[in-house]
Symmetry: C2
Subunit: 343 residues, 2 copies
């Protein structure tokens, strides 16, 4: 089931024949960060690496400050999703020889600010010259009690939450790549304190770096469960995404369907623990957004004001695996995929 | 003094304004891997990241197996240089959409074999599509007693050794990039067991990933000492590099001067510990190659059969920082730099 997704198949193909570490706690696809138990200790090390080449190559990220900010945030967010404490980050920067010095210093300012916000000091890195700009990082965290959150563990009846409003990532992508006459701010913050707080309470967690529906789809395949998501009562969609939906006439679920995420944490909590969660989060100063429920049937059912839909989220993800740079074409394919499923 | 080197200045510029971690043991430039003390423990975590974009872009690496092998080895070698135990590696692979599947599977075979040889299992990674092939990794190691080797600590009178013969990296680069009619094998092995063995004995260590003279130059600047290197008695130069020197008429020191290294460890040992070193290495089945001595005067003095030279290694390194793809031009500049220093 996990292999129905092109990206999952590509990854499985790449690691074929590789030996796994006996110290590694998580299986393939099962965690946002790699989890390694340190010898003679309870402590689990969390490691993750992510680069943002595609976002630069497709023109999604052009602002150097955003590029620097995201270089850190995409990695910090994976640490957040396993509930780890941040330790630091290593950076990889391949820079064109003729890169404008102002561009570079603004990018480094984005890195610095995101590092400070995420309490993730730069430990080191590697710099190369290369024909095109290519940047990324590897973040390191610690889970002292050795009990990370992973993508695995939710059961039917668990309640699904997000750490914040959704749709800003895809809203930004639309405003940046499409011919729509709109702009949308985008500077997501990795949810590290939130991840550490929910770690003992949540039954599974994944960040929405690839968008909400892709994350739900992956959790569905890993846990062999389904999700009942209810967007009818508002509040889940980011205000600017909601506005964009209204002005463009695009359905609100489309802002959850694109692969450019908002870097919130999507997590499930056994219903008996929901009161405890809400108590803890209110003390930390935030309110989790209730999205729905884990169900037995392995599909994703979405309720929004236009009705109920069973979404073929696998096919939706694969639309983007074949992305040719034409976003309008992608959107049309997504709309086509959903219409016949209307129930 | 460290800033006389263009590369050092570039790095210092990039990290300007970044806060450093209180847990980090090593200063900037002072270690091949970043060293982070784990809270509530003696253990030091070793982290390093390196990509091989330039080696691919310049045509130095074209064989997919070598590309995969080096993706692991460049990182494993940094772990070796701090004397750490290997834990694992994360890979970053940005692959062109139209990459030949055979190329990819051969590259992955190179990765797998190097990982097995270095006992460095692949923990995870990140895959992107990108216009050009761009690969790298981040390796993680542990130093359980918390006493890493670093580049800092040698004193005048210490003896300088290498873990193996030298010059194969630059010999390979010559055979690959220049119009010489020769081939040279190249598949260096990260010296992880050797690094762990010498860690309690060595006063400083650095791998020769950037070539021998660049490593000596960096150690000179960090330790404010000099080096007296004696190549007269042979044995230090890799047999194939020696052959290439003979057939081309190029001086043997040139094989230490290029920036494409052989990934041996260059290390110093207080003279009282030399017997202990030789005893330990013979039990591990290898013989360190004695290169010379640490001296007070901060310069690099080379004795070889053509005489004694004081090398301006700083200027030599900067020749490559301005490398324009023309290797013959570089070699001529190096030859020009050395001739006037002949003593």
């Amino acid at each position: 089931m996990i292999d129905a997704i092109i990206e999952n198949r590509v990854i499985a193909g790449l690691v074929q024949g590789f030996e796994r570490s006996r110290r590694q706690v998580n299986g393939l696809h099962e965690s946002d960060a790699e989890l390694v138990r340190l010898p003679g200790s309870n402590t689990v090390l969390a490691l993750t690496t992510d680069s943002i080449a595609e976002e630069i190559n497709t023109g999604l990220y052009t602002d150097p400050y955003l590029i620097g900010w995201m270089m850190v945030t995409v990695n910090a967010s994976d640490l957040a999703a396993v509930g780890s404490e941040p330790v630091g980050i290593l950076l990889n920067e391949s820079l064109p020889e003729n890169l404008n010095p102002d561009f570079l210093s603004t990018m480094q300012r984005g890195v610095r600010d995101a590092c400070m916000k995420s309490q993730l000091p730069v430990l080191g890195g590697d710099t190369n010259t290369s024909p095109s700009l290519h940047v990324g990082g590897t973040a390191v965290g610690l889970i002292p009690d050795g009990r990370p959150m992973t993508r695995k563990g939710c059961r039917p009846g668990d309640v699904v939450f997000a750490t914040g409003t959704l749709g800003s990532g895809n809203g930004y992508a639309l405003s940046q790549l499409d011919s729509l006459d709109c702009t949308m701010a985008y500077q997501p913050l990795a949810r590290l304190p939130e991840g550490q707080l929910i770690r003992p309470i949540a039954s599974c967690c994944m960040d929405t770096s690839d968008g909400v529906l892709a994350s739900l789809d992956q959790l569905m395949r890993i846990n062999e469960v389904g999700f009942d998501i209810d967007l009818r009562y508002g509040g889940a969609l980011h205000p600017e995404a909601r506005q964009l939906a209204q002005s463009t006439g695009l359905p609100s679920w489309l802002f959850l369907a694109g692969l450019h995420g908002e870097f919130e944490l999507l997590f499930t909590v056994p219903s008996v623990n929901v009161d405890g969660l809400l108590h803890a989060t209110s003390r930390q100063g935030w309110v989790p957004i209730r999205l729905g429920e884990v169900i037995e049937t392995p599909h994703i059912r979405l309720a929004h004001k236009a009705g109920f839909f069973i979404l073929d989220t696998g096919a939706m993800r694969n639309v983007f695996a074949r992305f040719d740079g034409n976003l309008s074409h992608c959107i049309q394919q997504l709309l086509n995929l959903v219409e016949p499923c209307k129930t």
